[in-house]
Structures are given as C-alpha cells and as structure tokens.
C-alpha cells in the first residue's frame, strides 16, 4: 500500500495537524466502554493504525498498551509522544505479532480499508490478536448512509518555527464505488516563505449492513453506539465487536 504523504514525507508535520486534546472526549467514551465490558483492572490492548499516537496517549495510564502502524515514520512520531510504549510496524490486514490482547482499538485508520476484502482481513487480524471474549473497538468516519459530500475542515497551528494550515475537503466522485476522497492541502510557512502541498487520501465507504455482516462473518458479536462528540457536527459511531 502506498503511503499517503501525511504519513510519510509530512510525518514531521503531524504534531501541527492536531493534538491529543482533539481525541480526549472520544477516548474517554472508549475507556468507559472498555471498563463496562472488561471490568476493572489493568488490561492489555493494542491500537492498530496508531498514527501520531494522540488517541493512544489517553489510554497508556490505564492500560498495558501497544501501538502499531503501517508507517515507520508515524510509529516514530507516536513513540516520541508515548515514550516507553511498545510499537510495531505492520499492516492491519496482515500483521501477526503472536500475542493476544483484551482489546484491539482501530480509530479512523480503519477508513483506509478500501474494499470489503481489506475490511474482512483487518477483522481477521483483530480476531487473531484477541483473547476469547475480547473486544474490537473501531470507528469509521462515515457509513455510506451518513456521508456528507463537501465537508470542509481547516486548522492552523504553529510551533514557533513552522506555521501549518491544513485544509481538508471530503467528497465522493463516484457514489457507486466503496470509497470517497479526502483532499488535503498543506500550507507550510517557514523562514518567510509559503509552500503549498497537496495530498489526496482515498477512504473506504461502506453501508452499516456491510460492517455488521463482515464483523459477524469473521467471528464477532456486534453492537453499535452513536455519539455527538465531533466538533465538525458529524455524528460519531462506535462499533463494539466481541470475539465469540
């Protein structure tokens, strides 16, 4: 899989794209669910597609956490942000690390699964890495039914040397396929100059029925919860899948 530029050449800019606070409310919701499902105690968990590790950072106090990502550069970013937490470079569709956890978390990185086959493989990976009765928690940005064409987001952050403005635009060129597009522009200001870069992300877009069917087929019992924690007005979804 070819990496998007954000996770490769622009990985160094990731801390200027967002920060841990953007994930705090949602992480709390996920922790509440894990506590409800697994009971008290310090459980093991792995976050796959950990990216910059902002989401993971909310779990490391209460869980024995591991992170994995396809991008070595993002693993480095996350490791710096979550020191002492073990990380693995791996593709969530095919990785096998020979360990089982109480929970597998896959935040919006799941959106990079573009076909039903990708999704199924990832669910099989999660299943393989879960203890019996363990939980997969995942959160697609959209279902086919909830996709909003033309969503725009932007944010500007500075570290004193570089000021980054990123502009995101989400759309769906072909409503008949299983993907939508997210175009990102990076406006990078440094040393009195502006540089503009473009990065096109292709994201999976599947119906609610597809998610439930594939999870069931790969050996999970599925529960779906809705929340309204996103500041862009989008309705959020959390899929809670228990290994049978």
């Amino acid at each position: 899989m070819k990496l998007n530029r954000l996770y490769d050449e622009f990985a160094y800019l990731y801390p200027l794209i967002s920060g841990p606070e953007a994930y705090a409310d949602e992480a709390q919701l996920w922790k509440n669910v894990l506590c409800e499902k697994l009971g008290p105690g310090r459980h093991t968990m792995i976050e796959m597609g950990v990216g910059g590790g902002f989401n993971l950072s909310h779990f490391i106090q209460d869980f024995d956490a591991t992170g994995s990502d396809l991008s070595e550069k993002m693993v480095n970013v996350s490791q710096k942000f979550n020191p002492g937490i073990p990380h693995v470079v791996g593709d969530m569709r095919t990785m096998r690390i020979g360990k089982q956890f109480k929970a597998v978390l896959i935040h919006d990185a799941i959106c990079y699964m573009l076909t039903e086959d990708d999704l199924r493989q990832t669910f099989v990976t999660a299943h393989e890495h879960l203890e019996p009765g363990g939980f997969l928690l995942t959160a697609p940005d959209y279902f086919k039914e909830t996709f909003t064409d033309g969503m725009v987001r932007h944010n500007t952050m500075s570290d004193g040397t570089t000021t980054l403005t990123h502009l995101e635009y989400e759309y769906d060129l072909d409503p008949n396929d299983t993907v939508n597009e997210m175009l990102i522009h990076y406006l990078i200001r440094k040393d009195g100059k502006l540089r503009v870069e473009r990065d096109l992300h292709v994201l999976g877009l599947f119906s609610v029925e597809t998610w439930h069917r594939l999870l069931t087929e790969t050996g999970f019992d599925v529960e779906q919860r809705q929340h309204s924690l996103y500041n862009d007005g989008r309705v959020g979804w959390l899929l809670i899948a228990q290994k049978k």
């Binding site: 500007t156 000021t163 502009l167 635009y169 759309y171 597009e181 175009l183 502006l194």
Partner: protein
C-alpha cells in the same frame, strides 16, 4: 505560481465564488450613504474595478451606472448580469473619461493598489470624474490595523456542470512592505473528475491614517466609517472599514 487567474481563465467560476446575493447587505449600507449625501433622485455613478458586477447589480435599479474594469472577461460577465450598464475597459489609476458623476464606487478592487502611488493615482481618477459635492466610497478587505494573518475562508457552491470548493488563505510574508498575499485554491469537480488550481493575489495593505491622508491629498474631505460587528462575523474583520470622500 500564476496570479489573478480568477479574472481571466477562471472567470467562468466567478459567480460560484462571488454570487451577487452575497452583496445585498453591504450594498444597502453603501446606498444609505449615497442617499444621505446626494438625496433622492436617479443619480449617476461610476463603478471602478467592477469585476463580475455582483456588487454593482444592487445599484442598477436606482442609479445610472457606468462600469470600468481592467479585465475583458470580467466586463463580459458584468455586462450579462447588468445589461443596462455601460461597460468600459480601463485602469482605475489612469482612466480619464472626460465625464463627471455624482458618485464613484470602488469596492474591494481597490485592494489591487499595491503602493501609495497607485492608491493616490486612483483617488485622483475618482476626483477627476466627480461633480463638486460628489462622493467616493471604497472598502479595502483589510487595513494594516485589522489584518488577520493566516486567516482561512472557504465556500462551496455548485451549478449544473461544476461543483466548486473554494479556499482562500490570507497572509503577510513581509510585514515591512505595503502588501499582503492571498492564495486561492479552487477544487473543481466536473464530469466525475476533480482538479485543483492555485491562484495568487497580491493586495495592498496600508494603515488607516494613510488611506485618509492620500484621499485628502487628492482633494477629498474624508470620513472613515467602521462597521461594528462581532469577532464571530463570517468575514472576520474583512471589509469592516468603509472610506467616504466628498469632493
């Protein structure tokens, strides 16, 4: 990066970016000033840097207008939108029509004046084309005092053929000069395909005191009027200062 493409090769996207309806509120403020200074009647006005004519379209029912712009493509658009208006091609710094008007309007096109000489030349053009007692109204996007570095504005619109997402980013690379930069990004979806285009605009940035001083130098009595609006206004501080000069 290429500059000012909006007024030429992307003229066909103009009304998706700057629809006439968006100017209704501001045009009403300008008309109130015109009525206050000129009184009732069908006065004649000269609109300099009329662009696509979106702003002008709110004046044509009540005033006899002549519109001038540098860009032939913009003149074509504005002529279609405002068929009753006489349109001429010209540069607001050097234009001399040999005719007088009751008012000269220069909307945000004044922003393309990049130095004090340009600005003063334009005010002199306005003065030359006004009757005694006539007035100029102009509104830059920003003055030095309210400039918002790294401000993003965006807008999406569609017509039968095109879905456009438009992004605008204003910034000032060199605070010591009299300009700032505006980067425009067009994300154009047509026939199931997407393309992106960039367009760089360089715009003048002067302190309030310089605006009023140059208008006085050209011969005007000047009022600077600030529209009070909250920081959450969709346009931020853009366009909050209106300069009115009376000959």
């Amino acid at each position: 990066m290429k500059s000012n493409r909006l007024y030429d090769e992307f003229a066909h996207l103009y009304y998706l970016i700057d629809p006439p309806a968006d100017h209704a509120g501001e045009a009403a403020r300008w008309k109130a000033v015109l009525r206050e200074k000129l009184g009732k009647g069908r006065h004649n006005i000269l609109d300099l840097g009329s662009g696509g004519g979106s702003h002008l379209s709110h004046f044509v029912d009540e005033f006899d207008a002549v519109a001038v712009d540098l860009s032939p493509e913009m003149i074509k658009l504005s002529s279609t939108l405002n068929p009753s208006v006489e349109h001429l091609q010209g540069d607001m710094r050097t234009l001399r029509l040999g005719r007088k008007f009751d008012a000269v309007l220069i909307h945000d096109a004044i922003g393309y004046m990049l130095n004090e000489d340009d600005l003063l030349s334009t005010f002199k053009t306005a003065f030359e084309h006004l009757n005694y007692g006539g007035l100029i109204i102009t509104t830059p996007d920003y003055v030095k005092e309210n400039f918002q570095d790294a401000r993003v504005a965006h807008h999406t619109a569609l017509d039968v053929k095109t879905t456009l997402a438009y992004f605008e980013y204003v910034y000032d690379l060199d605070r010591a000069d009299t300009t700032f930069e505006m980067l425009m990004l067009y994300v154009i979806r047509e026939d199931g395909k997407m393309r992106t285009e960039r367009d760089m605009h360089t715009l003048g940035l002067f302190p309030l005191e310089r605006w009023t001083k140059l208008m006085r130098t050209a011969g005007f009595e000047v009022e600077a009027v600030k529209e009070e609006r909250g920081i959450n206004h969709p346009d931020g501080h853009a366009g909050e200062w209106m300069f009115v000069g009376v000959k």
